[in-house]
């Protein structure tokens, strides 16, 4: 068990080292990088919009419910919703959703390529498969996740504001007043830093699990499951570490 854990960390570290070295040695293949921008970024927008809107809406309803009987200005609901979304929920919830969508896709793709010898075929042509397959995915993840965070935060705030208005809980101007009252640019920066880290965690773990997949269809299935579960787990751990260090 202990050996397996060391072995796993060793392989993961080796893959990251190879990725770092190959990205310094050669320009990552641009076509693949562009494709990953589209797959990780553009194609994730619908699910991020949905996640953002409902997170904001639920936050508004629950905060209003919790503060319902307190003698506090209703604009505070806007403050709490805004800060919660910017600091925590937009980054974490969207990343957990993306661990399923992006992480599973990457692990399955690379795992299938591994067990069907497509990665061997790339290597046998003289291509650096890590540079070709892993580097573009990790780079695209680290660059696209902050963008998706901004989209999630913006739609979350919109969802929260609209929910307040439509349920007669909170007028729009009160929500905006509260949002502005406790808005700190650092919160947005913090959310973006978190999303870069989460993007790295999801793409690197999924690449690792897919790249070293073994055992046919069942093995690819196991790799995909492990990639998703491990990504979610390490997102929560990293969330705690970053909050402890940066707040």
């Amino acid at each position: 068990m202990r050996f397996t854990l060391f072995h796993e960390f060793g392989l993961y570290g080796t893959l990251l080292y190879q990725a770092m070295r190959s990205s310094l040695e050669s320009t990552p293949y641009r076509m693949n990088l562009f494709q990953e921008f589209v797959k990780i970024g553009y194609e994730s927008i619908p699910i991020i919009l949905l996640t953002g809107v409902f997170t904001g809406a639920v936050m508004t309803i629950q905060t209003a419910y919790q503060l319902g009987n307190a003698f506090i200005a209703s604009s505070i609901i806007g403050s709490i919703v805004t800060q919660s979304l910017l600091i925590e929920l937009s980054a974490v919830i969207s990343s957990l959703v993306l661990a399923g969508k992006v992480g599973a896709r990457i692990a399955t793709e690379l795992g299938t390529m591994r067990v069907s010898e497509q990665i061997d075929a790339l290597e046998s042509m003289g291509l650096n498969s890590v540079s070709f397959l892993v580097v573009p995915r990790i780079l695209a993840g680290m660059l696209m996740f902050p963008v998706l965070y901004v989209v999630a935060a913006a739609t979350g705030l919109t969802g929260g504001l609209l929910t307040g208005v439509l349920t007669d809980t909170l007028p729009a101007f009160e929500f905006m007043k509260g949002a502005r009252m406790f808005f700190f640019p650092w919160d947005v920066l913090f959310g973006m830093i978190k999303s870069i880290v989460f993007g790295f965690i999801i793409t690197s773990i999924s690449c690792y699990k897919g790249y070293y997949a073994t055992g046919g269809a069942e093995g690819v299935g196991q790799s995909t499951t492990q990639a998703t579960v491990l990504s979610c787990m390490y997102i929560l751990v990293a969330d705690f570490v970053l909050a402890s260090l940066l707040l």
């Binding site: 010898e117 290597e123 046998s124 042509m125 003289g126």
Partner: protein, 263 residues
């Protein structure tokens, strides 16, 4: 264990014709030994068949010839250069001298048949689109699949996938063509077509061929020399004629089990 070398076997007399030298090669996965102390020469222009039971490590041996796998111990020398001591650039140059047909074709399923074959040219050459088109169509014509250029790889049959894999393997004009079970999973007629193709490519491209197979019909049709892996070792090697006359017990058993009569 030293392999049985039939009298006058070319393997006994390495010469300037030697392209690949395998020296003391051993491979284990964890505690599982695949084979030990394999010594073997591959000569320029010959077709070498590697035979043996399923799971005896034929494909594993093949993947050591271009360093897709690294051995537990031992060396593989290509033109006298130990490929396991090369840096990535040196290894890339060696790998591009080899073309390999993988067991299932290993076609990239996200792109078309045409793009699969064009892929090495796009990555490693500065050819124009028109030149790439000419080269790809020429390769497809060699494998009689010019009509399937724009098909998705998912639409291809098993035999077609192997032929597309072969077209991709020859597109960079390799010196060595390696075939991993080229006829497995194919009907006898398609297998025969693939065998004919291997012979035709060996002659027309003047390449050295290494064929992993357990199909004795293929062996007798295409091979100049045969290597038999058995009991975690290189058990026997010799020419096809020597194979036909050999009285080696495990080799005779293997040939008999494949329901092929030598005499």
């Amino acid at each position: 264990m030293n392999p049985t070398l039939d009298a006058n076997s070319p393997a006994e007399t390495p010469s300037e014709k030697t392209l690949i030298q395998v020296r003391g090669l051993s491979k284990s996965f964890g505690s599982t030994v695949v084979w030990n102390d394999v010594n073997l020469d591959v000569y320029k222009g010959e077709t070498l068949a590697v035979i043996g039971r399923s799971g005896c490590g034929k494909s594993v041996l093949l993947k050591h010839f271009n360093a897709l796998l690294t051995p537990t111990s031992g060396d593989v020398l290509v033109d006298g250069v130990n490929i396991f001591e090369l840096d990535y650039v040196g290894l890339r140059q060696i790998r591009q001298r080899f073309g390999i047909l993988f067991q299932g074709g290993a076609l990239f399923d996200s792109i078309s048949t045409y793009e699969n074959i064009a892929f090495p040219l796009r990555v490693f050459t500065t050819l124009s689109d028109a030149e790439i088109r000419d080269r790809v169509m020429e390769a497809l014509e060699r494998v009689s699949l010019a009509h399937a250029a724009e098909r998705s790889t998912a639409e291809l049959s098993g035999g077609m996938r192997k032929r597309v894999g072969l077209a991709r393997a020859i597109i960079l004009n390799p010196e060595v063509l390696m075939y991993d079970e080229p006829t497995s999973g194919l009907d006898p007629q398609t297998s025969d077509e693939i065998n004919d193709l291997i012979v035709a490519l060996s002659e027309s491209l003047n390449v050295t061929s290494i064929v992993i197979t357990h199909d004795m019909h293929s062996v007798l049709k295409i091979a100049d020399r045969v290597v038999f892996l058995h009991d975690q070792a290189l058990h026997w090697m010799g020419t096809v004629e020597q194979l036909k006359q050999s009285n080696d017990g495990p080799l005779r058993d293997f040939v008999r089990a494949s329901e092929y009569s030598l005499a």
